[in-house]
């Protein structure tokens, strides 16, 4: 396993800048999630790390050694594709063992390692089948197996769960987390799904428009979003944003919104008077009559959903 450092990577496709000055560091054994809406450059960054496409500027380092001049084979990374990209004409065993075979590993060792990996993923019974005979979840496991069997320096996963149905996705997410704790591999994981990012990542990298907006633990990203984009992108239901002004009255600041006023106490940032935008997570809003906040709203729709009920106004 290795640590990964990306320094000032810029990539342009024609006139479009897919990545601009992206830098990040992933510790050895860390699970890092690249999160952002589609077209934000996260997959491009992953492909650059893998060596499948080359960057225009910047450098990629494994264990502080530049790998820019190395082919994907020499970089010794493993990748799981969104489509799984299983070789359709090979059996599951051949699919998993392909990387070892290409590296001229002796047959008996390939067999052992394929079996061991299949056991780890619970797919021993499927080894003789072809990909077309497998369900979506099973294919996903085979794709994981193909990556795991080689014990590479780095695992790169490109939206590996997006083709699974919601129930399966939740259970595979848990398994993936357990698997990571078991093998302690360095993982870079691309997703547009904030739930995946928040539940899987040790570190979350939020991207938008080819730029890295914020890097931090899921808690930090949630509690202290860098800007309104991160604030609204993370969290479901979405965070409420209100525009208004802050004003100092006595010792405390207060926020004057459109028809309501909030006293700001114990706010972890330096406050100044002026126009601001504040955000409130829906779960932090309670119905009550404490008197210090007066906020009236008209509920237009109530949506009961399991233990949560969402109110839209």
């Amino acid at each position: 396993m290795a640590s990964l450092t990306v320094k000032n990577i810029t990539k342009r496709f024609g006139k479009i800048t897919a990545l601009s000055q992206a830098s990040l560091h992933v510790e050895d054994g860390e699970f890092c999630v690249l999160l952002g809406p589609s077209g934000c450059g996260k997959s491009t960054l992953l492909n650059i790390i893998a060596g499948l496409i080359s960057q225009d500027e910047g450098t990629v380092l494994f264990d502080d050694q530049p790998v820019d001049q190395l082919s994907p084979r020499e970089r010794d990374v493993a990748m799981v594709f969104q489509s799984y990209a299983l070789y359709p004409h090979m059996t599951v065993a051949q699919n998993i063992g392909f990387g070892l075979r290409m590296r001229q590993v002796p047959k008996t060792i390939i067999q052992d390692q394929v079996l061991e990996t299949a056991r780890l993923l619970g797919i021993e019974e499927l080894l003789d089948r072809k990909p077309k005979e497998l369900s979506g979840g099973q294919r996903q496991r085979v794709a994981m197996g193909r990556a795991l069997v080689r014990r590479p320096k780095l695992f790169l996963l490109d939206e590996p769960l997006s083709n699974l149905d919601a129930r399966l996705r939740a259970s595979v997410r848990v398994e993936l987390r357990q698997l990571h704790q078991q093998i302690r591999g360095t993982i870079t994981y691309v997703t547009h799904d904030q739930v995946e990012a928040m539940t899987l990542g040790d570190k979350v990298v939020v991207m938008r428009g080819g730029r890295i907006i914020q890097i931090g633990s899921p808690e930090i990203i949630y509690e202290r979003p860098a800007d309104t984009f991160v604030a609204t992108f993370i969290g479901s239901p979405e965070m409420n944003l209100y525009q208004g002004r802050t004003a100092k009255s006595g010792e405390h600041f207060s926020f004057q919104g459109n028809g309501f006023k909030i006293e700001l106490k114990n706010v972890p940032v330096e406050l100044m008077e002026g126009a601001v935008e504040i955000g409130m997570r829906p779960e932090d809003i309670e119905i009550g009559q404490k008197g210090d906040i007066v906020f009236q709203a008209h509920a237009e729709m109530l949506r009961p959903f399991s233990s949560l009920a969402s109110s839209y106004h």
């Binding site: 893998a50 499948l52 082919s71 994907p72 084979r73 990374v77 493993a78 990748m79 594709f81 489509s83 990209a85 070789y87 359709p88 004409h89 090979m90 392909f98 990387g99 290409m102 590296r103 077309k132 193909r146 080689r150």
Partner: protein, 310 residues
């Protein structure tokens, strides 16, 4: 009093669908009968009768003077086994060559480069050009007296004397240790066949190549496969089905090939001859039966195998 209405009973759904199906299938069925089934039966009929060109319009065409004489003539011909073997060699090598050339061409123009569409279009020209025109051009190029190839080769000292590529059956090559006898006209015709029909293979292979998902290649690159390994383990297996089908088509068409060879060689190297309709029909039946046998074997083994690759 029960009301009596004299209405035609409405036919149920399945019989209405059956009627529709009948009328939908009738045209195609008729066409197949007229242009496939009837000629085959007619051919079998003719092959069992002594018919010469002059008899083709006579009433004797319908008389039951059946005989196996035509087949006897074909099978007892002292050249039969040689001709049969030559046909098989020609069909096999001609098909394989055109497929290999098509594969190489398809791989060359698969990736993006400036002028790719133009090159792709130009590659089709041997196949599109009229057969008379291309055979004329080639026989002109290969001609021993007037041909540009012989002139160039003799001029540069490559050949000591002009080689009649299309009209000489054997070409004896004296090498230091052994003497090799090359079937010259056959080789020329096979090379011509490979050249003329590679665009057909090229088109099919290119279409299949374009359909191979890019991420299979990306996955294999990450798995550490070299370009050659990628071709061997990804491209070739993905092409297996189309290659198998191409060989099938090319083999059938080359096996029955007449026009190209006739136009190219004018029968000079021992090819064509008499106007015996009955005997010709018998030859056609022999070709037909051979191809049918080939098809059965082919579908049993190769195509079944190929489906495994999907």
């Amino acid at each position: 009093m029960p009301l009596k209405t004299k209405k035609k009973p409405v036919p149920n759904l399945s019989s209405r669908e059956a009627r529709l199906a009948f009328w939908m299938l009738a045209p195609a069925f008729t066409i197949v009968i007229v242009i496939v089934v009837f000629p085959v039966i007619w051919n079998i009929w003719l092959s069992l009768k002594p018919v010469l060109l002059g008899d083709l319009r006579g009433a004797s065409l319908f008389s039951f003077n059946l005989t196996l004489g035509n087949f006897l003539k074909v099978f007892t011909d002292p050249n039969f086994s040689t001709i049969f073997l030559t046909t098989i060699i020609y069909a096999t090598l001609g098909s394989v060559l055109s497929i290999i050339l098509g594969l190489v061409a398809a791989l060359l123009v698969q990736d993006e480069f400036p002028g790719r569409s133009l090159v792709r279009g130009l590659l089709l020209s041997p196949y599109i050009a009229p057969v008379v025109a291309v055979t004329f051009t080639w026989s002109f190029i290969l001609d021993p007296q007037l041909g540009v190839l012989n002139w160039l080769a003799v001029d540069k000292g490559l050949f000591s004397q002009p080689i009649p590529f299309l009209s000489q059956r054997w070409w004896v090559l004296d090498l230091p240790l052994i003497t090799v006898r090359i079937p010259l006209a056959l080789t020329s015709v096979i090379l011509f066949e490979g050249w003329r029909y590679f665009p057909f293979a090229f088109l099919f292979i290119l279409a299949r190549l374009q359909a191979i998902p890019d991420d299979l290649y990306q996955a294999s690159v990450v798995d550490g496969a070299s370009p050659l390994q990628r071709f061997r383990h990804i491209t070739l297996p993905q092409l297996y089905m189309v290659l198998a089908n191409l060989f099938l088509f090319r083999f059938i068409w080359t096996f029955n090939k007449f026009d190209d060879i006739f136009l190219l060689t004018r029968g000079q190297a021992g090819t064509f001859g008499e106007f015996n309709i009955g005997a010709s029909s018998a030859v056609a039946i022999v070709l037909f039966v051979t191809l049918a046998a080939f098809l059965i074997v082919y579908f049993r083994w190769i195509v079944k195998e190929a489906q495994d690759f999907l």
